[in-house]
């Protein structure tokens, strides 16, 4: 995957996993990926997941390697943030699993649909009063942003949800750099891996990570809501458009993150370049 990414027109390559502690690379693999990405003049970004103690110890070694190299690290765990905020020479990014964003909910539009489901018009009107809050994040409150900034956070990972772009703009106005993930919006994350259970894996410490190649499309039997199960995470898809991208024009520092996986069918450098081409305004 890294080899395909470096051949494409991207400016930076993200390496690591934001989802699963079992996908944390070895130090040797990390070094190899770092050198490859640097050789191709791309920026190296290291991504980390939520971490129990034993995985945190593994990441400490990686941090030692990266700390002299001005690398960018995406943090999805408060414990890792605690360690990294004391380390000089790192650019810290708040991962999307530390950002609470109710609009990720796959049936968020249910607020409107409730009109048909309830007999109370008042209830429906009341719910509309809070509908705007579904499109805000936990960072749309200055003391929270300040606290993270005090701990070295300079940027934040977000999702491609056009209705939220206004609240993203507010984060940029607070001085945060934004990275917006295209296509895949995380709906749920577990440590009791749904994929492993479905595939009959009995012990997670012996998991051979089928999720690198396999995924499942899951459709709610009665509601028809479609989601994707990839390893220990559930996603819903939202297709980006150049028109929506224009809404982010005034954001000074914006990064778009292209997921490389079989769900979005972006697995080669040609497909990555296609995504970039399709996002350019016509």
């Amino acid at each position: 995957m890294v080899e395909e990414s470096v051949k494409s027109h991207v400016d930076a390559v993200r390496f690591g996993s934001e989802l699963c502690e079992r996908k944390i690379p070895s130090l040797q693999t990390l070094k190899k990926a770092y050198n490859l990405i640097e050789d191709h003049d791309k920026e190296f970004i290291y991504v980390t997941p939520r971490l129990p103690d034993q995985a945190l110890e593994k990441i400490r070694e990686h941090v030692d390697f990266l700390s002299g190299r001005e690398a960018k690290i995406v943090v999805n765990d408060l414990g890792l943030l605690n360690i990294l905020s004391d380390q000089p020479g790192l650019n810290l990014w708040l991962g999307r699993f530390l950002v609470y964003l109710p609009a990720r909910c796959p049936w968020r539009l249910g607020i409107k649909d409730m009109f048909f489901l309830t007999l109370s018009i008042k209830l429906m009107l009341d719910r509309r009063k809070v509908a705007d809050l579904f499109y805000q994040t936990n960072l749309n409150y200055e003391p929270t942003v300040e606290l993270f900034k005090q701990h070295g956070i300079i940027g934040v990972d977000l999702d491609w949800i056009p209705k939220c772009f206004q609240s993203y703009q507010a984060l940029a106005d607070c001085g945060l750099q934004l990275s917006i993930h295209l296509y895949m919006i995380p709906v749920a994350l577990t440590r009791k891996c749904h994929t492993a259970r479905f595939l009959g894996i009995r012990r997670l410490d012996r998991c051979d990570k089928p999720c690198y190649n396999r995924f499942f499309r899951i459709v709610h039997d009665k509601l028809g809501v479609e989601m994707f199960l990839s390893g220990n995470a559930v996603f819903r898809l939202e297709k980006p458009s150049p028109k929506d991208l224009e809404k982010l024009n005034s954001v000074e520092s914006l990064e778009l993150v292209i997921p490389i996986n079989p769900i979005t069918k972006t697995t080669s450098y040609k497909e990555i370049n296609n995504v970039i081409r399709n996002l350019k305004p016509t």
Binding site: L51, N82, C105, W107, P143, P186, R191, K192, N213
Partner: protein, 352 residues
């Protein structure tokens, strides 16, 4: 005997039943959503009760992880609950209700929290760093507990939260007992874990399968409150249907058998989930864990005495569940191994 009881009452640190418990026995926290329910769980032996209070105004309609039906309905009711609990040496812990905080919520939430804190609650559970800043700005000096919405999974996270002023951290449910042990060993603050009910399939802070806005009124019976337990049509990467099953259901329920291990792990609080349940059910669960903890307090940490107590507690739960829903506790949870703090659920998929 009456005199002796009075002395014991005076020396009791906390507790619904007036016995002094050994320091290594975790506090038992029970959920409450009404005054009547509070009376039942206090009488059933809770050391602390926790509750949310409905936020007046438009925030009443912001249903994320809870609906107002799971909360105490007014400040007056909160006041009565605090009065009853304190009269029985039981602490009252307020939950700050929302897992996130945005600017436009600030005024309403500040007013609400100030009003609740005026009612003499003993501690507050917070699941968002923005809400922490509000509570600090109100200037009330009561212990602040970190909710499971902080998703604490390692001791560095606990350290981070303790630096921010949290004196107790409620750990994420998706840990193993060994992992809990390591965290508790290194931590200088109290460590609390969930032991019963609602052991979510996903990490709380990262789950947006929001129950309370799920449009279920169309077709869903009341028992199916949790979307992660619903059947899904599962297609593989080639588009082939693999089956219709509750593939996202990693729900766990119970830690009765694991209480001795959790005790050894150095946990200082056991929390029962169920703010949305009836007072009767909240009390039944509280009583079950109280009996188990009291058995352990007597030094019966293993062997026949503990097993006998465990069996008798589960038998009582069986009777209750059969009476209420026609299926036994063992059938619903034990046989399916719906046990807290296992790394992976391996039981067969089962819907309903």
């Amino acid at each position: 005997m009456l005199i002796l009881n009075s002395i014991l009452q005076l020396t009791t640190y906390s507790g619904g039943i007036n016995l002094k418990r050994p320091a290594n026995i975790p506090k038992l926290l029970a959920p409450v959503n009404s005054y009547d329910g509070a009376k039942m769980v206090v009488d059933a032996g809770a050391d602390e009760i926790y509750l949310g209070v409905t936020v007046p105004g438009r925030l009443r309609n912001l249903w994320l992880n809870r609906s107002p039906f799971c909360e105490v309905s007014s400040y007056d009711e909160l006041s009565r609950i605090v009065g009853y609990a304190h009269a029985h040496n039981v602490k009252v812990v307020l939950t700050a209700v929302f897992p996130f905080m945005a600017k436009s919520m600030e005024d309403d939430l500040r007013r609400h929290l100030k009003r609740c804190l005026d009612e003499d609650v003993d501690a507050i559970i917070i699941g968002d760093l923005g809400i922490l800043s509000i509570v600090k700005s109100i200037g009330v000096e009561i212990p602040i507990y970190a909710s499971t919405f902080m998703a604490s999974m390692n001791y560095e996270a606990v350290k981070f939260l303790s630096k921010l002023g949290f004196s107790r951290v409620i750990l994420e449910r998706h840990l193993t007992i060994d992992e809990i042990h390591k965290i508790a060993e290194h931590s200088h603050v109290e460590i609390e874990v969930f032991v019963h009910g609602g052991g979510c399939s996903n990490i709380n802070a990262n789950c947006y399968l929001l129950h309370w806005i799920f449009p279920r009124l169309l077709f869903t019976p009341l028992r199916d409150l949790t979307p992660c337990r619903h059947p899904f049509r599962v297609y593989d990467e080639h588009g082939r249907l693999q089956g219709v099953l509750p593939i996202l259901d990693g729900f766990t329920w119970c830690a009765l058998c694991r209480v001795p291990q959790l005790l050894k792990a150095g946990v200082s609080g056991f929390k029962i989930v169920g703010r949305c349940l009836s007072g009767e059910r909240q009390a039944i669960m509280t009583k079950a864990y109280r009996e188990i903890l009291d058995t352990l307090a007597e030094g019966k940490t293993g062997g026949k005495a503990f097993r006998d107590k465990l069996n008798s507690v589960i038998r009582e739960l069986d009777d209750y569940y059969v009476r209420m829903i026609g299926r036994s506790f063992r059938e619903l949870f034990c046989k399916q191994k719906r046990c807290y703090y296992i790394p992976l659920l391996t039981a067969q998929y089962r819907y309903g």
